[in-house]
Symmetry: C6
Subunit: 268 residues, 6 copies
C-alpha cells in the first residue's frame, strides 16, 4: 500500500480536514495495525503537507523532540530536534504511540495544542510560533489496558479524538490484493481467518491480527509459501508472547483457509 491509496472507513477524512482547517490537534485511537499510520500519510498527501513521524518510547526525552545543545569547535550550538523542525517547516508531526513517551515530552506539547500554538524552547530561550500549516497528530492504542501508563485526561482533552478500527471485510480484502498481488479468493480467506480470530479474541486476551499481518502473509504466499504456512508465521505465531496459541484457535484459523481449500481455491 503506497501512501496515496487509502480506504476510508467513516467520517475520519472530513473530521481530520475540519480539524486541520481550525488548527486543532488530532488524536487517533484504535487497535494495532488498523491503519492509523497509513491514514496520517494519506491526509498528509491530501493536504499537501509532509509528514514527520516520531515513534514514542519510554526513554524519549523532550530534548529528543525539540533539540539540544551540541559542542562544535569548542562552542555550544543549538540543534533542532524533529518536532522543532516539523513546526518550523509547517509539517504534520505524527507522534506514534504517544502514551509511551516520558512526561516531559508530553508537557512540551501543551503550548502547541492550545491557542498559543507555540513551542517554548526554554533551554534555548526561544519561542517557535507554528505556522498555519503545522498540525500535530498523536496516536495510541487504548487496548493496552494493562499498561501502567495512561494519558492524563487533561492531555486527552486537548485533541479532537478520532477512533479508528478495522476495515469491513471486502475493503480489507481489496487492500490485501493491492498490496501483495495474491488473487481475491486468497485475500478473502485470509481476511475471513483474521475476522474469526478477532471475534474469538474477546475471550482470549490476544491483540487481534492487523491488516498489516494479512498483507505480510499474502506476500509470503505470493513468494511461494502455502496459505497454512503463511498464516502460521504471520497471523497465528505473533498472537501470543509465549506461544500458547490454543489448539482451538488454530482450528478456527485453519477452517477459514482449508474450507476454501477444499473448494479448490488453494493457489499452489
Amino acid at each position: 500500500m503506497t501512501s496515496d491509496t487509502y480506504f476510508a472507513n467513516g467520517a475520519e477524512v472530513s473530521l481530520f480536514e475540519q480539524a486541520y482547517q481550525r488548527n486543532l490537534p488530532v488524536m487517533l485511537t484504535g487497535p494495532t495495525g488498523c491503519g492509523k499510520t497509513r491514514f496520517v500519510e494519506h491526509m498528509g498527501s491530501l493536504l499537501g503537507r509532509p509528514v514527520v513521524t516520531i515513534s514514542c518510547h519510554d526513554d524519549l526525552t523532550s530534548s529528543d523532540l525539540v533539540g539540544r545543545f551540541m559542542v562544535t569547535g569548542g562552542d555550544v550550538i543549538w540543534t533542532d530536534g524533529p518536532l522543532t523542525r516539523a513546526v518550523k517547516s509547517g509539517a504534520i508531526c505524527y507522534l506514534d504511540e504517544v502514551v509511551e513517551a516520558r512526561h516531559d515530552s508530553l508537557a512540551i506539547l501543551h503550548s502547541l495544542t492550545d491557542h498559543r500554538r507555540a513551542l517554548y524552547l526554554d533551554r534555548a530561550d526561544e519561542v517557535v510560533h507554528a505556522p498555519t500549516e503545522f498540525m500535530l497528530v498523536c496516536s495510541y492504542n487504548p487496548a493496552y489496558r494493562s499498561s501502567l501508563k495512561e494519558l492524563k485526561p487533561s492531555f486527552r482533552q486537548r485533541f479532537v479524538t478520532l477512533p479508528m478500527t478495522y476495515l469491513p471485510a471486502d475493503r480489507e480484502a481489496q487492500v490485501v490484493v493491492s498490496e501483495s498481488g495474491v488473487d481475491t479468493a486468497t485475500a478473502q480467506r485470509l481476511v475471513q481467518c483474521a475476522t474469526a480470530i478477532r471475534t474469538a479474541d474477546r475471550a482470549f486476551h490476544f491483540e487481534p491480527p492487523s491488516t498489516r499481518v494479512l498483507v505480510t502473509a499474502a506476500q509470503l504466499i505470493s513468494a511461494g509459501a502455502t496459505e497454512l504456512e503463511a498464516a502460521d508465521a504471520c497471523i497465528l505465531a505473533p498472537l501470543s508472547g509465549d506461544g500458547a496459541i490454543t489448539d482451538g484457535l488454530r482450528e478456527v484459523a485453519a477452517a477459514s483457509l482449508l474450507g476454501a481449500d477444499a473448494a479448490g481455491a488453494q493457489p499452489h
Copy 2:
C-alpha cells in the same frame, strides 16, 4: 478566547489583586480546563505584567527553572532559566500543574514565597531579589486523587489558594459562541451535554469535559461537522483512556443534542 476576554466566576479577580498588592503568591486549584490558564493571562493583562508560563512535569529539575552553567568557548557561563528571567523582569511566573514537578523544583520556590522574596542560585552563588512587580502563581488539579504525588501541606500553606470551577451554563455558552462562531442555541446544547456528563461523572470516574472541549467541538461544527460527530470526537471520546464509554453516557449526551435537534435547532 483571546487573553483580554475573561468571564469571572466569583471573587477571584479581587482576591488575586489583593494578593498581588501584598506580594503574596497564589495557588489556583480546580478541574481541567475550567479556565485557570486563561485567568492568569487575564490578570497579567489587567495588572500590566507579562506572564511566563512553565508546564511542570516529573522530569523538571530546578536547573530547568533557575538556569545552569553552559560551556561557551571553553569557559563556563551561567545562563538564566525561565523562572530566573521572570523574577528579574518582574513578570507573573505561572507554574502550571506544579504538583508534577520534582521536589528540588519546589524547594527552590521556598525563598520566593515567604518574606525573603528572593531566589537563591546556590550554584551560581547569587541571590536574586524579586522586584515588587514579580508574582508567583501555581496551579494544580486536586481531582487527580490517585496520583502518587501530593503537594506537602507546608508548601500549600505558602499560597493564597483560589479554588476555581466551571462557569455557570449561560456564561459558558457565551464563551463557546465567542470562541467558535456557532449560534447560541448550538452552544447551549453543547453546554447542556457537558453539564449532563459532569453530573453523571460522580458515579463514573471520568475527568469531566472542560469548557475547552466544548469550544473545540463548536469549532468543528462551524467547520462543517454535525453536532453528534463533533460531540463524539471532542467530548465523549477523550473521557476515558480505554474507550469504555458506557452506552448510557452516550445516550445522556445524545439526548442533550438530539432533543434540541428534534426542536429544529440543528444548524445543518
Copy 3:
C-alpha cells in the same frame, strides 16, 4: 515580622545559647509554620552571626552543599558550596527540612556534628575546620509520619533537640497584628479560627494552619478582602490536597469569625 522580632515560647532561647556556647549542633522539630525559621533568624541576630539557609529536598546532593569542581578556561577549579562557605565564614548554617535530603548530604554532616567539627571535602582533598562561631542548625517536621524517609537515630542523637510549637493565642494574635496591620479583634478571631481547626485536626489528618497563614489572611483583609474570603483562601483551602474540607470544619471556622461578626467586630 522582621527578623528582629521574636516571641519566645519556652526555654528555647537559652538552650540555643547554651548549645552555641558549647559548640553543639541544634535540631528544631515542630509543625509547619510554628516559627522555626524565624527563631533561627532571631538567634542569628542575637548572637551576631549571619544565617545561611538551605532548603533540603530529595535531589540535594552533598556536592550541592560542599561544592564541586567546575571547568574554567580548560582547568578544573573547586568552587565552595553554601555549607562550606557557611563553615568558613563562621555563620549559622540552617538546613531546613533536613529529613528530605539525600543520605550523602547527611553523611557529610557527621564530622561537623561531633568533636571533630570539621568538613571533609574528600574530592578536593581538603579539611575545613569550623571556627568557634560556626553553628549547625537543622529542622524537620515530625508530623509527616507517612513519609518513607526518617532520620536515623544515630543522626538525631548528634543534636540538641528543641521541640517547638505554636505560640499561645494572645501572643499569636500580637504577631498577626504586627505583621499585617489588622486590628487586634480581627487578629484574635483569626487565631480563634486556627485554634478551633488545630483542635479538630486530631480527628482529621490535616496539617494544622500555621501562624504564617493567619498573617497571610490578615494581610488580605487589610488589602480589602472580607474575613470569610481571606480565611477561605488562606486557612481552609490549603488544609487538604484534594479540596475535601468537610462542611463541619468549615462551620467550625466560620463560627469563630461570624460569632465575632454578629458582635459588630467585622471591620468592613
Copy 4:
C-alpha cells in the same frame, strides 16, 4: 559446527528465503540453544550476506545500536553503531534476545520493519534507507514466562515469526558427533539423556538442556572425562540456579547413560 553446516528441522529455510525475497523482517522463537543463532548464520551463508549479531540486554540503548556523537579533536563526529553499519552494508542484522532490549531500542526498529525500510537517525538528522539486501532478524525465547518484560503485540506483528525447536533425536546425535568427535553411540546416549530431561521438564520449571550443552559434554568426553562427569558438569548442573536438582532427575539422566554403559558402549 561451523556456520556452513545446518540441519534443517522444517520449512524454516524456505520461509526465511521467501521473507528475504519480499523484504520482510523475521522473528525466531524457541528454547535456548535449539539453534537459532546457527540458523541465522546458515541463512547468511546461503544468501551470501554477512551477519551482524547484537546480543540484547536491558542496558542496551538506541545509541548503542545506531551510533552517537563522539568528541574528536574538539569537534563532535557522528559514529555509526552496529545496526547502522549493518543497514548501510546490506547485511543481515541479528538481534539476539531482542525482548531484553530497552524500549527505545525497539522503537528505533519500527521504521526498519514496515514499508519505509529506513533508519531515522534523529540526533544526526539523517535517514538511512536500507538497500534490498538488508534484512532484520530478531529472536527471543518465549519460555521465559516469568520475565517482567514482554514484546508488545504491535511489535511482534511486524515480523514473519518462525518457531524453532530441538532437532529430532537422530539428527541431534549427528550434530553432536560432527561437533565433538565422539562416536555415534555416545552421542545417542547424550541425546537420550537430554530427551529424558526435556520430557520431565514440564513438571519441573527448568530450562531444558540445549543441543549446545550436549556438544559441550561430548567435547569433555573426547578430552577424557567420563560420560557421567561430563553429563553432570554440562547437562545437569546448569539446569537450576540453586543446585536443587532432584535425585529423581539425576536418576533419569544416569539411566540413559548407564543403561547403555551396562551394554558395553562406554568408551573409556
Copy 5:
C-alpha cells in the same frame, strides 16, 4: 573526650592488636554511640598510625573511595580517593556504617581483605599493594533490623568481628565527668536515666541513648541548663522520629533525675 582517653570494655584492645599484627581487617558492631569511632581513634594512637575516617552512605561510589580521573589543562589526571591515600600511607582506614555503602564500594574492598592485600584500580590500570602498616576497619550497627540493606555473609566473613556495647555505669559516668566538667553525682544521674531507658527500650523500638548524648546533656548542664531541660533536649527528644515519647518513658527518665533532685543534688 580526646582521642587519647579510652575506657576499654573487654578484650577488644588485645584482639584488635592481634588482628593488626596478623594483617587482618576488623569489623566493629554495636549500637549507636557506644564508642566505636573513639575506639578506632584510640587504637590508631596506640599503634602509632593515622586514622582516615570515611562515613558511608548510599550514594558513596567506589570512585569516591579509590579516586577518579579529573580534567586538568585538557588532560585527564588520576586523583587518588581517601581509601587509596590511606592504603598508600599505611593508615588505619575506618569505614563508618559500611552497610550503607553501594555494592561497588564493597566489592573494591575484596582484594584488600584477603591474602592479596591490594587495591585494584581497574580504571587507572594500577595495583596498589598495602604496606604492613595499613589496616582496614569497618563498622555497622546491627540494630537497624528494618534496613533493606544487609551485609552479605561472604563479606562479613572477611573480618575479625568485635561486638561492642555500652560501658558499665560507673565507667560511663567517669567519661561524662571528664568530657563535660559536671560533678560525679550529676553524671551518675544521667547514666541512671540512660540505663532506665535502655532497659525499657526492648519493649519500645527506640534506638537507646548513647554515651554521646549523656555527654551532650552534661555539657548543656554545665552551661546553665537544668538537668530536666538537658535530659529532655539531648536524651528524650531524639529517641523517636515522630516525637511520640510515651509519658511512661518520660516518667522513668524524670524519676532518675528528680529522685536525686529531691535529695538536694541538683546543681543549680
Copy 6:
C-alpha cells in the same frame, strides 16, 4: 595458603584441564569461602597462565569490563578494560560472583563463550579474537536463594559447571595448620566447631563458616587470642547480620572447643 598449594576435593582439576584443552568456559558454584578463588589461582599456576580477577557487583558496567574512551589532550582514546586486557594477553579471566553483575556485562560475554571466542567492542568498532590460551572462569554462590537476581538458564548453559564444596575435615585441618601455624589439635577443634555449625545451619538460615574464617581464627590464636575469643570473633559473630546468634548455636560451638579444652589441648 599461597597460590601454589591446593587441596583438591574431587575431579575438579582434571575437568578444568579438559575444559581448558577444549576452549570451554567454566562456572564454579559453591558456598562462600570453600576455595573457589584459590582453585582458580591454583589452575592458573598449573596451566602457566596469569589470572585476572574481577569482583562483580551490581554497578559493574560492560565499560568497566571492556574499556571506554577517555579524553587525552583533547582527543578521545580507547582504553582497554581488564577483560579486554585478559583476552589479549591470553590470561585466565576470573569473574567472581558473576551473578551480581549488570546484564550488559553478561551480554558482552556471549561471544566469548561460544564458538566465536571473540569480544565485540561495538563502541570501538573492534573485534578481539581470543588466543587459545585465554579462558573465562566465572563463579557464583547458589545459596543466595533470596537474591532477586538469578543467572539466566541460557547463560548457565554456556559453561562447564563445577560444583565445589568444603574440604573433608582432615584436609581442612591441614589447610588451617599450614596457613596459620597453629598445632593440629587446635586446627581440628576449629574444624569440628565449623562442621557442627554447618550441620546446624540447615535449620537456621546462616551462611555456614568458610575455611577462610577458620584460618583467620587460627591466626588470631597464634597471635595470642584464646580459642573461644577467636571463634567468637571470626566464626560466630559474622554468622548473622543482626547478631542474633542463638544460645544453642553458641553452645554447639563452645562444646567443640571446650570439650577438647578439658582434655588439656588448649595452647595457652
